[in-house]
Symmetry: C2
Subunit: 233 residues, 2 copies
């Protein structure tokens, strides 16, 4: 339990404590499962916290994550096989957050307001609040790992499908056109998000305004394309 170690010319009295111990006075002891889950969470959070603007998944080391999570490097393996497995978990979590974003946008649209404007604003709030989450998606989208790239693409695909369906339902555009429009819009919004990531509030507003106009171009253009086609029939 207790141990006396000599290091760097100093004697250290070390002893183990449960990490993440509840800070209430009455420490209700955690079950093993619960404790394990907490440590897993700690690892995941630690990893996210390391993913600032100068680090990517491929550049964070297992030891670094372990350090930030407050565990020994080798303990990492009790939770993830690889650093890559952790990476995939992070991408999944990011995807989850993205889907929550979609739901939120849908709710807001239902309660009034322009579709484009509301969606873009919601998106901008998201990347402000979940800075590192969005950065992860953005970076791994063009990153060095095939698996990560595929995982991110899958999440973006959700966006496309959802937006395509919505477009068909609300405008009656034919599938092909609606799909092209949705894809273009998602790309434009993500690009704008990338620009806005490290921007100040006023810059963000400018980016948002610009992309809203661009989305309107796309929407009008798609609408126009269909009308013209119908006329020639």
């Amino acid at each position: 339990m207790f141990k006396l170690t000599y290091i760097y010319g100093v004697y250290l009295l070390t002893f183990r404590v449960r990490i993440n111990s509840t800070s209430t006075i009455k420490e209700s002891p955690l079950s093993r499962q619960e404790q394990k889950l907490r440590t897993r969470r700690a690892i995941i959070e630690a990893a996210f916290s390391l993913l600032d603007e100068r680090r990517s998944l491929s550049s964070i080391s297992l030891r670094e994550v372990a350090r930030a999570a407050g565990i020994a490097p080798t303990s990492f393996y009790r939770h993830f096989k690889d650093i890559d497995e952790l990476g995939l978990t992070l991408v999944d979590e990011a995807g989850l957050a993205l889907r929550q974003l979609m739901r939120q946008a849908r709710l807001r649209i239902a309660s009034g307001g322009g579709v484009i404007s509301t969606s873009v604003d919601t998106f901008m709030e998201f990347i402000t609040a979940n800075n590192n989450v969005f950065r992860l998606l953005l970076r791994e989208h063009t990153g060095t790992s095939t698996a990560f790239r595929a995982a991110v693409l899958r999440e973006i695909q959700h966006f496309n499908v959802e937006l395509t369906d919505y477009t068909i339902a609300s405008t009656g555009l034919p599938y092909k056109i609606a799909n092209l429009q949705a894809e273009a819009m998602v790309k434009l919004v993500f690009s704008a998000g990338a620009e806005a990531l490290d921007a100040t509030d006023s810059q963000k507003k400018k980016v948002a305004d610009r992309v809203k106009l661009q989305l309107r171009f796309v929407a009008n253009g798609a609408h126009h394309a269909v009308k013209k086609r119908q006329l020639t029939k």
Copy 2:
């Protein structure tokens, strides 16, 4: 000049040769300057060759580049202060290639053919021929180095300016609209390029066709926006 070394249980007779020596029979000796430039080239080419789909600038090591270039690790410093300085050089070279692409597209457009179609086709040929160059730009655009990101952005900005000017000249759109349109188009084309990077020829064609339609949406939408505004005046 000659040296006998013992390593891994084997005696090796090593001796120095000039790398990149001309392979003609009559070896015309290179001037020092020339030789240095060649080595510099070798380093740059080596770095590009390492930038396949699984490596990014931040993940290639000085030693690795040196190895691929056939020089000693420490010799690297005779040419670049840092690995970062090499990185910036690579981005610059990539930017140069991009500008050549623009020129080529302009020439082709002048000699007939649809603007959108010709541009996209030229772009697709570019990323096929200069795979790693485009990959570099794409990756560092969202990469971990502020300096690299800025450098890439500068290059993309060239595209925007050029396309904005062209649009104003050929359609007479007001600056603001033309600029928004150009920006959207560049983003869509780059996104499509990203998709096409690792795609087969037939997939590339599909991507190209899709993005062409999307660009038309944008163009028509922008046009429409102006017409409508003029009517309300």
